[in-house]
Symmetry: D2
Subunit: 340 residues, 4 copies
């Protein structure tokens, strides 16, 4: 029997991307979709590229799906999930609501009271490269943020093996779709094209998420992350450049081996011998990692490339679903990147 899927807030970029991917997934069927302002419309009216998906957008999820993806904004998502959660349904939350395990950190980061803190501990942080076993056994996955996905995958091997000081710089360059489907003036084409800028210097919401996860790999010292995101004029893609100080003598070959070994059971992590380009991941679920030892300066530079809407959001969510459903992790995600 085909697994039935519900998607809450299908009308954002993450939600529509989940619909796009699942439409060609062999083992599931989208049965119910919701959208806040577009209820009553066919999905093809909102997203013409999804016209082949013959579904109407509703106010509420119906028909008891086996798996529900929530692509609502933070707080709204937890509130809705609290209504839907039960023993039978598997829920994957794209929002940030269950990512931070420390409720105080969450509340000060998102500047709002958490709607259902009791579910935080039931949830698993949905980075399959680290928590595959736990994801298989949970009913509530907190899908990682787009920046943290790259930052954690880049630095976990270094921190775990105590190769670097636990003081990480992550300089990320993101395409604009990361801002979501928004009508803000600052994301208008004329403002973004031929332009780039840094933002979030006084503190970005993804920083505690990166620190929380890297801390799990650090024995004693707390990991400090200086995270500076940059907007660059492209639609999709995050290029992350990570800097940390060597505390061990290590050669390029050894570091390549370390990364290959660390990710040997992670089909979507590719270790590259040259700096990756974001376009190599355009539309697919890979995260490509290139670690580079600069022995002269005692620094390791780790470059990551991924598609913020796929491995950084919808693709990771489908990967989590596959693991929760106990089907091969790659199912429905085999599509190669589109190039050029």
């Amino acid at each position: 029997m085909t697994t039935k899927i519900g998607i809450i807030n299908v009308t954002g970029y993450a939600g529509s991307e989940i619909a796009r991917i699942l439409h060609n997934h062999p083992d599931v069927e989208i049965s119910s979709i919701t959208g806040r302002s577009s209820a009553g419309k066919k999905i093809g009216e909102v997203y013409p590229h999804l016209s082949d998906i013959n579904l109407n957008i509703s106010d509420e999820i119906s028909g008891d799906p086996d798996v529900i993806f929530s692509a609502l904004p933070h707080a709204a998502s937890a509130e809705k999930i609290q209504q839907l959660i039960n023993d039978k349904v598997k829920i994957i939350d794209i929002s940030a609501d269950f990512r931070l395990k420390n409720i105080d950190v969450w509340e000060s980061t998102y500047n709002i009271k958490h709607p259902c803190p009791e579910n935080i501990n039931k949830s698993i942080y949905g980075l399959p490269e680290i928590y595959k076993k736990e994801i298989k056994n949970t009913n509530l996955v907190a899908n990682p943020g787009c920046f943290p996905t790259g930052a954690i995958l880049a630095n976990a091997p270094l921190i775990k093996e105590k190769i670097v000081e636990p003081t990480i710089i992550n300089d990320s360059k993101t395409g604009i779709s990361g801002a979501g489907r928004t009508s803000k003036l600052e994301f208008g084409y004329s403002e973004i094209n031929e332009n780039s800028t840094a933002y979030g210097l006084s503190g970005h919401r993804h920083q505690p998420e990166i620190e929380q996860e890297l801390n799990n790999f650090s024995n004693k010292q707390k990991v400090k992350v200086t995270f500076v995101p940059h907007l660059i004029p492209m639609t999709r893609g995050i290029l992350g450049t990570n800097y940390s100080m060597l505390i061990k003598n290590i050669h390029q070959k050894e570091i390549m081996d370390l990364y290959r070994d660390f990710y040997r059971e992670s089909p979507f992590v590719k270790i590259s011998e040259v700096p990756p380009t974001t376009k190599q991941t355009w539309g697919n679920n890979n995260c490509i990692i290139y670690p580079h030892v600069n022995q002269q300066n005692g620094i390791v530079v780790v470059i990551t490339a991924l598609d913020n809407l796929v491995k950084g959001a919808a693709g990771a969510a489908v990967q989590n679903m596959n693991i929760m459903l106990n089907i091969p992790e790659e199912t429905g995600l085999e599509q190669l990147a589109i190039y050029p």
Copy 2:
């Protein structure tokens, strides 16, 4: 004594572009600027690239400028101009309010009652390549629309010399800044990048403007214009491709001569022997025209390139100001296009 300038609604793209150009104009000084929602701010707070202009944005024009540019939306512009108009001030209206001489056409096109129809006949259509003498003697100029500028300059010589059927197709490709400084979702970077589309097929407001002006060159037959604008992913520039049917046998050399002759006193119109690129006009006031006779099919194709914010708006406005002030037409507009 320096001429004092007021700019109404300096916070749109056309208004800020007038400020940018006039800042380096040797004969004038911006003395008063207004903006609807930004009153009280320095202009550099809204537009950091204009930080060197040391002016505050006000609610209302003050200090009796000698020349006022209005960059308000249609209807709002005419209303404001009615308050300011008098014998001493020269007004250049960037909006569409005084472009159409037939009040009924204006009202059905813009779907609103005209706030001051009595001023329509006092105004001159500000295309200096056609109305230089009249512009010199008026106090109210209706600055042309961006698409009409290219379409009229492309077709006027052909209609005047009765070389083609007065049935014109204008297929225009425009950068996104033509939509103004807007926060609409459809002009977001993620929507526009790697995308293009046609719009306005059921009737664009610039069509009657093109027809009105081309009709002035047609003796008997009314000119019919099929105008199809297209959005393409760039910030600035309009590329216009005009098609019309030959009714006279004419050779490429003759048509080149015709255009050169027609525009011999128009310093900003360049006749090119190859198809122009929009980037050749990026940031400057030129309109480049390439007419091409296709004798096999009995068709003339005329290509135009211009910067929609300069020759299509702010540059033309300054050119009109220069003519009204009786100073050389090119003053302050000598800047070459920026390339690449």
Copy 3:
């Protein structure tokens, strides 16, 4: 038994796109790939996004594939095909070598002697929307050009039903990948970004191809096509705007019905009620058509959108392969467009 595929010149954009699509095709397996200057390399060394395809690039096709795609340039392609052609292999030629049925037109258009004119008549013009039956029964398909695909699909219903004068204007706007994987200065990023231009006004090679195919729908009068391609700053996509003069009174509803009927057995042609955007087809095999009657001017405007590398090249080639192999036309081409 799985069908074995050979791809000649896999290193161009069309060739690599065929590889990308076939990698996920359920019924075939790529067994042999060639590339002129990259022989000896793994395909992932040339195209990192194809690293999952575990194949080396050879000098020559080997292993007797069941189907061969040739993505060589014109003339070189026909020469190679002549060596490979036999009763057992099905060949799909992406080049222009077998598209024009009149050898004189071909030779004057491509300005070279045709290497094997005897094969021209064996070949079928591979536009499945028109020649599905013939494609099923041939061993040599001439895959259509990217511009002709849109222009023919847009105008065939109008010409066939004698609704318009057979004098067509096709104003096409293409992304840069249509120029192929080339190192020409003029296609450099700094030259193309924020730029657009017309080209080919003295005659583009795709014009006789469009005329040949539309002539098949015209009883007496020869169809004349004025074809003006334009480069616009995007990688993929062709937006075509077609203009022709009505000779019959027809309403919008009737024309919509005509197109829907004409293409009712063409799964990849979608008739739209609004102007399509190229991004709706980004990475997939659809051609979206919007016909619009302008009764005031007696003109029909037909807009088409397609991905030049998919429906305009590699996708159409796979569609032809499916038909030749007698498997469902859509197999392996179900992927939705990627948006945003």
Copy 4:
């Protein structure tokens, strides 16, 4: 009497940009231009946007210009300069040939023997914000590299005041025009658009240049720079993000004051209170700096934005010329950035 200018290799992006800027400079006149493969052509044939400059491209500089700009590649530039250098002519070298004072470092960096090492010590590193007095008194200026301009201006105040460890990370994001007017496949539009990547991780030629200049501000400890440039999809602009470790307790206000004070006589350096965008400098000579203290992590992040072809090349060269000619530094460089 007007100063006469020669430009060697006007056909590259830096050379043409010098021509563009000088065309509107009130005190000088371009009298002789050369270009390697375009000799004999008018400059407007190579660069249509420069059609108003009525000059032919020659093989050699003629007419004894007062100032010569060389925009030749490295090594070729020094060789040509050696032929032209004398007591009367002022030379500004855009190439890297005289930037590094240590000949061994130069030769190992550029991997070629220096054509005229004897001139290295006569030359001044042309960063007016640091060497204004020396530039005024030299006849040979080594115009700084585009990346070093931002990196040096960002870090000099911190190193000089011993506020940070002399171990600097510079993560730079550059537009593609920095690669020059090149026909390399990898800089093609289809390769660059919707893409970004890091490069030069094993050592970029600008690194020793940055270190040399920052070392002049460091008392004892040698400055180590980890420099990672990134290509991002835009034509113009460099965004630099600099990271260094605080060794002094300093507050945001103090650091703002430090920068304002350090650059109080540098008209083209603007200290910003928010992160700058590259577009704020599009086409003009400003370098905008935003220093940000992250006290929690003990890090200073300094962001710089500049136009790589203006402040990063041609604009700086004209600024140097003005200083050498003893005319106001800003002459001919007053043009505001073009936005949007």
